[in-house]
């Protein structure tokens, strides 16, 4: 219980410290910010060990050493690549790291290119070959397949593609089609904006719900006391800054 209690107090304090940035950049926020950067760098470091190095390097090597799976020895190549990366740290051997870099760039460029070609290009074209007439579709419907909806869909896809046409000379009729394409793009951006607002507000609600939870008696009113403390600090800091005169320029973001 005590470990949890301390944890809750720390969470409440850090949450409010980050929120204090909304007022202005200040020491408490800076502290939380640097703590955040540091802790997450340490976290990544450990994740790299537990998530990749142990299962993908050490385990196969161990298996190979114990004789259960000799193919594990191939992973020594990976180790070598890794060491070549680390040679960057020495100025003289820096260039060697270009080899593993080249390997990684080549591998992933090919993988992604093929992945996109398959899932995005081919599948999306397939999905756009849709019936217009003859399939007994209704003319108009709010939801689902209808002739009007399908016409809009096809016109949209084609016009957006034409908008991305780079060889297009000025003043061709196709240019007008591309202009229609921008309308579709804007509606798309607008709707994803709308959905993003929805998601972000939910996150804020989540944080405030947590703060309400932390302000309960069983946590000794952690968020209430912390918010008083953070506000108090900001006031003192503000007064101190003003006394120091106007020479200290503020980092106000407003």
């Amino acid at each position: 219980m005590t470990a949890e209690l301390i944890g809750v107090w720390i969470s409440a304090l850090l949450t409010l410290a980050i929120f204090s940035f909304l007022y202005k950049d200040n020491p408490i926020y800076k502290f939380a910010e640097h703590l955040f950067v540091g802790v997450s760098a340490g976290y990544t470091f450990i994740q790299a060990i537990t998530g990749t190095l142990i299962p993908n390097l050490i385990d196969p090597l161990r298996k190979a050493a114990s004789g259960t799976d000799a193919s594990g020895w191939f992973r020594l190549g990976a180790l070598l690549l890794g060491f070549m990366m680390l040679l960057r740290l020495v100025e003289k051997t820096r260039w060697i790291s270009r080899w593993p870099l080249a390997l990684m760039v080549g591998t992933f460029a090919a993988l992604r290119m093929l992945g996109h070609a398959q899932s995005d290009l081919v599948k999306q074209i397939n999905g756009t070959m849709i019936p217009l007439w003859g399939a007994g579709l209704p003319w108009l419907l709010w939801e689902g397949a209808s002739i009007v909806n399908h016409i809009i869909l096809i016109v949209g896809v084609l016009s957006v593609l034409i908008y991305f046409f780079f060889s297009l000379e000025q003043k061709t009729p196709l240019k007008q089609v591309g202009y229609v394409g921008t309308f579709f793009l804007m509606v798309t951006f607008g709707s994803s904006f709308g959905y993003t607002v929805l998601g972000r507000v939910s996150l804020l609600i989540g944080r405030v719900q947590d703060l309400y939870l932390f302000s309960e008696a069983r946590y000794h009113y952690a968020s209430l006391i912390c918010s008083v403390a953070v506000t108090g600090f900001l006031v003192v800091w503000e007064i101190f800054n003003r006394r120091k005169g106007k020479r200290g320029q503020s980092d106000q973001t407003g």
Binding site: G51, S192, S202
Partner: protein, 279 residues
């Protein structure tokens, strides 16, 4: 246009609306859409005793959006006597899965329904390998997860008595906050093994899923906190989702108000400038 306006007033307005109205609930009218109803009907259509595979692919940072629907779904499934096998390809997900199970089990216990770990639900934990791991789970669940999250061999668990692969799974339900997530499950498992699938995703991901719903690959999906609230409304059990809905609604209108006021100021400034130029 006033350049000197301090945007912190806007922050204050948003903050006040959230903090105050989270404590002042009011009744709202819900009109769940086809996607939400699709999820509900999919769960309702399963005969009691069926097994649902719950793929939990989100971490603590997306809890605010996904945990409410996670709890609602688990509650609904367990209450309907469905059995749940939960697994994850996100490293930070298994503790969240545990949390949701424990919470719902406690609620059901209060209602007089006893649900047992290993019999009615199980948490398989994390599997590394991203998309590849999903494909592996698709081919065989016990082979991919020889042990559950607590280290027990899954073959000894009652729930796994006759589960080998997705042929024995009645419904695949994915909760995801990014990649790998719903899209990968659709590609690797839904299409290949033709299993029924529903999903619950963050609001940012929701627009992506519309075309899969249209192509009937997904029977339904929940998008963000609103989806969770609508689901809670359908199963008649208000939870975190509905608790946040009044704030959600008001904040949207507040932001809309900002857009409108901002534009009025903009057009007014433009109009004034033009008038000055004419004079």
């Amino acid at each position: 246009m006033k350049k000197s306006f301090d945007r912190r007033w806007l922050f204050l307005a948003v903050g006040l609306v959230v903090v105050v109205f989270l404590r002042i609930p009011f009744r709202l009218k819900y009109a769940p859409n086809q996607k939400t109803r699709g999820v509900y009907q999919a769960v309702e259509s399963l005969p009691p005793g069926s097994i649902v595979y719950l793929a939990v692919d989100y971490g603590p940072s997306s809890q605010a959006e996904l945990l409410p629907m996670h709890e609602a779904l688990v509650y609904h499934m367990l209450k309907r006597d469905l059995r749940i096998i939960a697994g994850s390809v996100w490293e930070s997900a298994p503790p969240v899965t545990d949390k949701a199970f424990e919470k719902v089990a406690a609620v059901l216990r209060k209602e007089g329904i006893e649900k047992k770990y290993g019999e009615d639900y199980v948490n398989l934990g994390f599997k590394a390998g991203l998309d590849v791991a999903i494909a592996k789970i698709g081919s065989s669940i016990p082979e991919t997860y020889p042990k559950d999250y607590r280290g027990a061999p899954v073959k000894e668990l009652p729930i796994f008595e006759d589960v080998e692969n997705f042929d024995q799974i009645g419904l695949l339900c994915n909760l995801s906050a990014g990649s790998p997530g719903a899209r990968q499950w659709l590609q690797q498992v839904q299409t290949r093994y033709n299993v029924r699938m529903v999903a619950g995703v963050t609001a940012v991901m929701a627009p992506d899923l519309y075309s899969f719903f249209q192509s009937k690959q997904l029977e339904g999906f929940l998008g963000g906190l609103v989806g969770a609230a609508e689901y809670e409304y359908l199963i008649e059990r208000p939870g975190l989702g509905m608790a946040g809905m009044n704030v959600q609604s008001l904040s949207h209108f507040l932001i809309l108000g900002f857009v409108i006021v901002g534009n009025i100021i903009y057009f007014w400034g433009r109009w004034k400038k033009r008038k000055e130029e004419l004079e």
